[in-house]
Amino acid sequence: MPISPASPDVSSTSSLSLSVEQRLGNFQLQASLTLPASGVTGIFGISGSGKTSLLRIIAGLDTPDVGKLQLGDQVLLDTQQRQNVPAHQRRIGVVFQEARLFPHYRVRGNLTYGMPERAAHRFDEIVELLGIGHLLARIPGTLSGGEARRVAIGRALLSDPQLLLMDEPLSGLDGPRKQELLRFIARLTRQVQIPVIYVSHDPEEISAIADHLVLMKEGRVIASDPLHDLLQRFDLTEELGGFDAASIIEGRVVEHDDVYQLTNLALDKCHQLIIPGISAPIGSRLRVRIFARDIALALSPTKDTSYRNQLAATIEKMETLPTSPHSVELLLSLGSIHLRSRLTRKSSDEMELAVGKQVTALVRSVSILHY
C-alpha cells in the first residue's frame, strides 16, 4: 500500500524551487534549482561539492547569505523579505549520515518522537515496512549500523513530512549490508508518495534510487535533468563515475527460470533481458544497471557465445573522450530504450562502426545489477 502524507491539506505534488548563495570560508555555494514534485531527486557530487550544505539549507538547519526557498506555494525562506520558517515548522524530514537516534529513548520512543496525532495510525504499517518490529523495546546503543539507519528512516517518515531529505544514509555501512539497505531504500522510495531528495557521492546509490539528478561541482549546479538523460551524456562521463559509467533500465518481471535461477525482464514490448534470478513476484517492476564496459557489440547475432542477452540495436551516438583515448563511448538505441557501451577504439575501427549502423548488443547476465 502506498504511503502518502497523512494530512491532505498540504499537497504532496508541490515542487521545490530554490535559489541560494552562501559563503563558508573559501567555499562558495551558488545554486538555483527547481526540483520535481514527486519521485526521488538525487543530488550527486564529490565530497566538498556543496551537497550537504544545500540539504541543510533546505531543512532549515542553515540560513544562506542570500536566497529564496519555496515548496509548492509556501515560502520557506526569503532573505530579502526577512522570512525564514524555522526547521521545526517546515515539515521536512531528514535522514542524516549518522542515524542520530536519541540515546535516552528506546526505539519506540525515537520513532514516535516527531509523530503527530494524524500520523499515529501509520505506526504499525511503517514499522512493518521497515522490518523493525522486533527492535521497538531496544536502546539505540545496542542496534547495529543497518538497524539504526532503518529506525532513523522510520522516525523521519513518521514525522509526516511533506518532503524527505536523505543525506548519504548508507555511509559507513559495509558491502552486503549496504546492498541490502540500498535495495530496501530503493523499494521504499517507490512506495512512499513523498518527494525525496537523496544526497550521495556514490553513482551506484544514485542509479538505484534517483529519478531526477542534480549534479554538483565546487558549489555549483552543473546539471539538473531526469536521470536517464544525464546518464546518456558523454560530456558528464567523468562526473558520473568515469570507468563505472552505466545505463539504467526499468523492466517488469515476466518469468522465472527455477532450474538455472534466472529471471526474465521485459523492457518493452519487444525487448527482454535475462538477469540473475530474483525473488520478486511476476509483474513487479524493477530497475537494472548495466556498466558501459559490460556491453560488447557484434555485427550480427552469434550462436557460439556465452552472452545470454543479444539485443538488436542501432548506434545513435559515438565519441572518443579526451580522458580515455583508447576507447569509444557509444549510445545504442533499442526503440525507446538507450544503452551505453564502451569498446576499444581499435575494435570500433575494425568493425567499421558508425552512427546509424545496426549492431547486436551483447550483455552478460551475470554482470547486471538490480534494485
Partner: protein, 233 residues
Amino acid sequence: MTLSPAEWEAIRLSLLIGLAAVAWILPPGIAVAWWLARYHFRGKAFVNGLIHLPLVLPPVVVGYLLLIGLGRQGVFGQWLYSNLGVSLPFTWQGAAVASGVMAFPLLVRALRLSIEAVDPKLEAAASTLGASRWRVFTTITLPLAIPGLLTGTVLAFARALSEFGATITFASNIPGETRTLPLALYTLIQTPGQEAAAARLCFLAIIIALLSLIASEWLARRTQQRLQERDAY
C-alpha cells in the same frame, strides 16, 4: 547523642537556607549554562568572568556588595521594600540569597560542561522532527545533561550549606533566623568554655556533608538507569 534545641535550630536553618538557595538559583543557573554552552556572542568572556566572580572574591566582599545592592537603602533593596514590602538583610531569605549567589558559579560550571557535551546534531535532528526549541531543550538537551545538573546541584547545595562570609555580612548572625551551622560553630568558638559544643557541631557538619554526597551518588546512579529505561512521553 541527643541534640540540643540550639543545634537542631542550626541544622534546620542550614538545610532550609541551603535548599532555598539551590531552588532559587536553579532556573537562572540552567538558563545561563545553556546560553553560555550554546551561543557565541560578543563579551562572552566578560559575562563568564562576572558569573565566576563569587568563586574568587572574598565572600565578605560579595556580602558587602549584596548589602549595597539589596540592603534597605540599596538600589534594588529600596525598590523591593517600597513596592513589595520585602526586606532581605537580617532574614533567612537574605541568607538564602547570599549563599545562592556564592553557589551560582559552581552550578553553572558543572551544568555548562554537561550541556556542551550534548551532541548538537541530536538537537538538530529533533528540530527536523518538528520539535520547538523549548521541546528540544526539555526532551533532548536537559535529559542528556542530567549528570551535570545533579553534580552542579549537589555542589551548589554543599557550597550553600558551608557559606559563611557573605551570609554573616549580608544577613548577620541572628539565632533562629540566620545562624546556620557554620555561624553557630563560629559563635561557639568565640565563646570561652564551649570547645566541646564546637566539636559536636563540627562532627554534625561532617555527617551532613557525607550524607549529601552519598545521596547525590545514589541519585546520579538511579537517574542514569531511569534515563536508559525511559520511553517517549
